[in-house]
Symmetry: C2
Subunit: 247 residues, 2 copies
DNA sequence: CCAAAAGTGTTTTAATTACACCCATGA
DNA sequence: TCATGGGTGTAATTAAAACACTTTTGG
């Protein structure tokens, strides 16, 4: 049995792209600390846990995410540490935490990671019995547990900045073959605004590492779109260590 | 007496602009863990310390910086957490740390902050007797203690990005009245490359919040330069929450 | 043949880059 | 009068933004 560090945790903000609903969601646990009625989102928290002593932080984040959600092979990026003494706002939350971990808790510093995945590709598993793991829309995510609303806003800011300046992260969200309209709608969902189709395509063409594969969509009741793929070689050639200004 | 958290520290990367030497420096402590001869920079570390239980992280950073260097009123920005189990690379370092803090140490996660100051304006004090606080040039800062070289490289990357996208940080580095050549040379020192004088001035003019005060330099053996100041009101008006793309 | 989404160019405006000479001062 | 750094403008290129119609398919 590994020993947990009582003042150090990892939290994972998992952004999920819902391609059906065209929305951006986050993965949260619903606990039953507060009465369900009228408690808003106070019962919702990000997957996270205390870290094991002597465990590498990044590894810890992957382990915790996997243990809680079954998710594997998602790219987690550390984006900030949160350590206000009043992060635990309610006595009920402290009690829950101490019961949950079986140790006494004071101030907990959490190292926050984010990931961006396709909801239909990565299917989280219901690993905990008492709590419900589920996706909620970022627009309905105010007043989460602890300081998790604050963590979310920093995460979202970081995600959007990274999407613009390090365009490769968007490719995690797409199937091998995708249409340019898929790619564009992905940007629109994450950035939260519309983009001009023709100007968008100009950028893609100039970037050079998103290439047509000569196939078309099938089975759609409209003009089938050309399919594209990400050309890793061209990407690496053009972007050796340099952030690309994409949109 | 406050209780220290044995697995949580703060480290401060203090960048100092040396306007005489036209160079960027960092503030380090020289300890005597390793023999002075032939140990390179292994004795040099950033000012930092374990944090007190239940102490706010940001406050901790200010407190530690002040206690170690006497520095006050510098803007510290948290930029990353470092938590590899092998951050302490040598037995001598672990021994030094345990002696220094008087407690047993396992893996320590450090929350890293950076600041950017003018060396001639902020004068650090020699607070510790055994160790020597001093400025070293970033070009001579390879192979620092622990993982501090890695911390430095992340700090420097963050600093340069922030300088470009959040241009207000540069104003900490200037006296109330400054010339445009001062400002330009500041950018050149931090970014590590030369900029075109005329194009630089075009950007300043467009930004709009760096305004001439109608005075000129005196006592210089060449054409005296026009003095400028930062107009906070105009800056806030133009930059409400939006990062400005400055250079 | 209709509905639905795909695909395609041009024009205007703004931003970026490259580049060289005269000016004001103190010594 | 000379050495030193200060200060200025233009032309060419590239990037950004705005904008609407035709095409292909399945139903």
């Amino acid at each position: 049995m590994h020993k947990l560090n009582p003042s150090l945790s990892v939290d994972c903000v998992i952004f999920g792209l819902d391609t059906n609903e065209q929305s951006l969601k986050i993965l949260v646990y619903e606990r039953e600390i507060f009465p369900i009625e009228g408690s808003g989102n106070k019962n919702l928290k990000f997957p996270g846990s205390l870290v094991i002593e002597d465990e590498d932080l990044d590894e810890s984040a992957y382990r915790i995410l996997n243990e809680l959600t079954g998710l594997k092979n998602v790219y987690l990026k550390q984006f900030s540490a949160f350590g206000k003494p009043d992060r635990i706002k309610f006595d009920e939350e402290r009690e829950w935490s101490e019961k949950h971990y079986g140790i006494k808790i004071n101030r907990v510093v959490t190292i926050a990671y984010y990931a961006l995945i396709r909801i239909d590709k990565h299917n989280p598993e219901q690993k905990q019995i008492k709590d419900k793991l589920r996706w909620i829309n970022i627009d309905n995510a105010s007043n989460l547990a602890f300081d998790h609303s604050h963590i979310l806003s920093v995460a979202l800011e970081t995600l959007r900045r990274d999407l613009i300046f390090q365009s490769a992260i968007s490719l995690e969200l797409l199937p091998k073959k995708f249409t340019l309209n898929h790619l564009q709608s992905l940007y629109e969902i994450i950035l939260g605004n519309k983009l001009d189709k023709r100007n968008f395509r100009k950028k893609i063409a100039k970037a050079g590492y998103i290439v047509p594969i000569g196939e078309k969509q099938t089975g759609v009741a409209h003009k089938p779109a050309m399919l594209y793929r990400f050309d890793k070689r061209k990407f690496n050639k053009n972007n050796e260590g340099i952030a690309t200004f994409f949109i």
